[in-house]
């Protein structure tokens, strides 16, 4: 077993480290070797930090050697999406703009992982500034799906999901603005969780759309998800919209129990865009839960179909100002073009941003001018309200809502790169949890043509534990999460 430590889950490794069966250093080395072996084909990492990782692991071993109590994540190797600032470690957001940006501060989530003793293996690939659903918009390179290297891993947290699926880390952090944690988790056959908005600090995370962004774990199973949540959740005085709630132990939610659970199923979540095999797998998963004592109920989410359009407006508007700071004045790659300060910024942004980012910035800026503000932006915010009401009403009749995470399994690299609307299908099932601010998790529930299918469980505001419990129950009853891609 010890020769394939990288295949183990974080909680298995944690038990072994705590009971001194293995050293944290051996665990880390195992993952570093694995990265060496497979990342040339998966390309999940933009930056790896092997020396720092081994030093962190050594510190954990030293602490254990001194008899000190260490946390559950101590010595566990994790990857961090490259839009999360990490002190002294290149943070590129997969943009040409930031190929030289080394933060002088840690994002709160990075600091919390560090404090928990987690070992950072490196920074994972994404669509530039989290704009995209396939990592094809990365200015660095496209990440490949470990299940089939011709396929995309999903996005924008594609590097994180692929790294976990390929055993290149025990867990990873992603960010989810419209499904960017759950969709790649679904495509890569791993667990991806978007917590209730405000549970996890956004400080130090390069913002795309402030009202939608949330950091979430990508893990090999639901138990690992709870473990990582324990380390990153909590009020942060540096992020004013983090919720002031008492510390929770999410691993307490890991019980195999869905008796009496009311599952909401909305016809709107099974529209014509959903692949028949995906639907079959998801309905099969619902049957599994019903077999364990849950019941299902048809619910109505009438405004769901407008979610993706409302999202595209809100995200464009918000990112038009959150990405305004990339002007070549204080950091980043400045254009060599000569001229005055205005031209310097204009050229810096022309040269530094990729087309997908530019598209979003132009759209967002346009939507704030003149009558567009009321016609589109306010309209989208009102539709956001209607969608929130839909979910409030639905949750009077059910405890959780089950749907596919994505309409399809992973698609081929290059398949949608020219169509500005086609790609958004990828977010069609996930975006609502961001608009409403509620928790949502994706767990593996089947395969089609050798590619994983994701089951999405969405819950009530601050009822993250119920999601974990349902996901855990399903996972413990099935073995989809135990399958591994054949990479070598």
């Amino acid at each position: 077993m010890a020769d394939k430590l990288y295949e183990l889950t974080a909680h298995e490794l944690s038990d072994m480290i705590q009971s001194r069966q293995v050293s944290a250093r051996d665990v880390t080395q195992s993952f570093l070797d694995r990265i060496d072996a497979v990342d040339k084909s998966v390309k999940a990492y933009i930056t790896t930090t092997p020396e720092a990782a081994l030093a962190q692991a050594q510190a954990v071993d030293d602490a254990i050697g001194r008899g000190e109590a260490v946390g559950a994540l101590a010595g566990i190797p994790g990857g961090i999406k490259d839009n999360v600032c990490t002190y002294g470690v290149l943070t590129t957001c997969a943009s040409k703009m930031l190929t030289n940006f080394t933060p002088v501060y840690d994002a709160t989530v990075a600091a919390r992982l560090n404090n928990a003793g987690a070992v950072m293996t490196g920074k994972t690939n994404l669509d530039e500034f989290a704009t995209g659903s396939s990592t094809e918009n990365s200015a660095c390179f496209t990440t490949h799906n470990p299940w089939n290297l011709k396929m995309v891993p999903g996005g924008s947290s594609g590097g994180s999901a692929a790294a976990v699926a390929a055993d290149e880390c025990a867990f990873a952090l992603g960010t989810d603005t419209a499904g960017s944690v759950r969709q790649p988790a679904s495509f890569c056959g791993v667990v991806g969780f978007k917590p209730t908005y405000g549970l996890v600090s956004r400080y130090g995370v390069t913002s795309l759309a402030s009202s939608l962004d949330q950091v979430g774990p990508i893990t090999k199973d639901v138990s690992d998800c709870a473990m990582v949540l324990n380390a990153i959740v909590g009020k942060d005085r540096l992020d004013g919209v983090t919720l002031d709630i008492e510390a929770k132990d999410f691993t307490k939610a890991l019980a195999k129990d869905v008796a009496g659970l009311r599952i909401g199923v909305a016809a709107e979540c099974f529209g014509p865009e959903i692949d028949a095999d995906v639907e079959k797998a998801v309905r099969g998963a619902i049957d599994v839960l019903i077999g364990l004592g849950a019941s299902s109920k048809e619910i109505a989410l009438p405004h769901l179909r407008y979610g993706i359009q409302a999202y595209s407006i809100i995200a464009a508007v918000e990112s038009s100002s959150t990405l305004a700071r990339f002007d070549g004045v204080r950091f980043g790659v400045r254009s060599k073009h000569a001229g005055d300060a205005t031209l310097m910024s204009e050229k810096t942004r022309e040269e530094g941003f990729g087309l997908a980012v530019k598209q979003r910035l132009i759209l967002g800026t346009h939507l704030l001018t003149g009558s567009c503000y009321d016609e589109y932006f306010i309209k989208a915010q009102k539709i956001r309200t209607l969608i929130i009401r839909d979910f409030e009403k639905a949750f009077e009749e059910c405890d959780i809502i089950i749907s596919p995470t994505c309409p399809t399994v992973a698609f081929e690299i290059g398949e949608y790169s020219d169509n500005p609307l086609a790609m958004r299908n990828a977010d069609a099932c996930t975006v609502h949890a961001n608009l409403v601010g509620i928790p949502s998790i994706s767990v593996p529930c089947g395969f089609k043509d050798g590619l994983p299918i994701g089951l999405q469980i969405t819950g009530k505001h601050l009822d993250d534990e119920t999601l974990l419990r349902v996901a855990y129950t399903y996972e413990q009853t099935t073995d989809w999460h135990k399958r591994k891609p054949q990479l070598i």
Partner: protein, 97 residues
């Protein structure tokens, strides 16, 4: 809504301080028009009396005490500066607009 022209895209690009190549302008003009046409559907929805949501957090009066916390050092603050002199960021001549 009328279609945006390449000139429109150019002036919006100026508002967000971004020059565009001819080719980018042409691609983006097409794409933005497709998106605008797509979101047009929303304008037909009746949302009278609905309050817009700009943030899902219902907390109000989130404040901090007026206490000084450590700042970055000047070296840290300017560590990523593309051009730095005298602990300041250097920018080309600023022409007031």
């Amino acid at each position: 809504m009328s279609q945006l022209t390449r000139q429109d895209i150019e002036s919006v690009a100026y508002l967000c301080r971004m020059t565009l190549s001819e080719q980018e302008n042409s691609i983006l003009t097409d794409r933005i028009n497709i998106i605008l046409e797509d979101i047009q559907e929303l304008t037909t929805l009746d949302t009278d009396g609905v309050t817009p949501t700009s943030q899902v957090i219902s907390a109000v009066n989130v404040v901090r005490k007026d206490e000084v916390t450590p700042s970055l050092t000047a070296e840290q603050a300017t560590a990523n500066g593309p051009q730095v002199a005298e602990n300041c960021f250097v920018v080309p001549r600023v022409v007031d607009t």
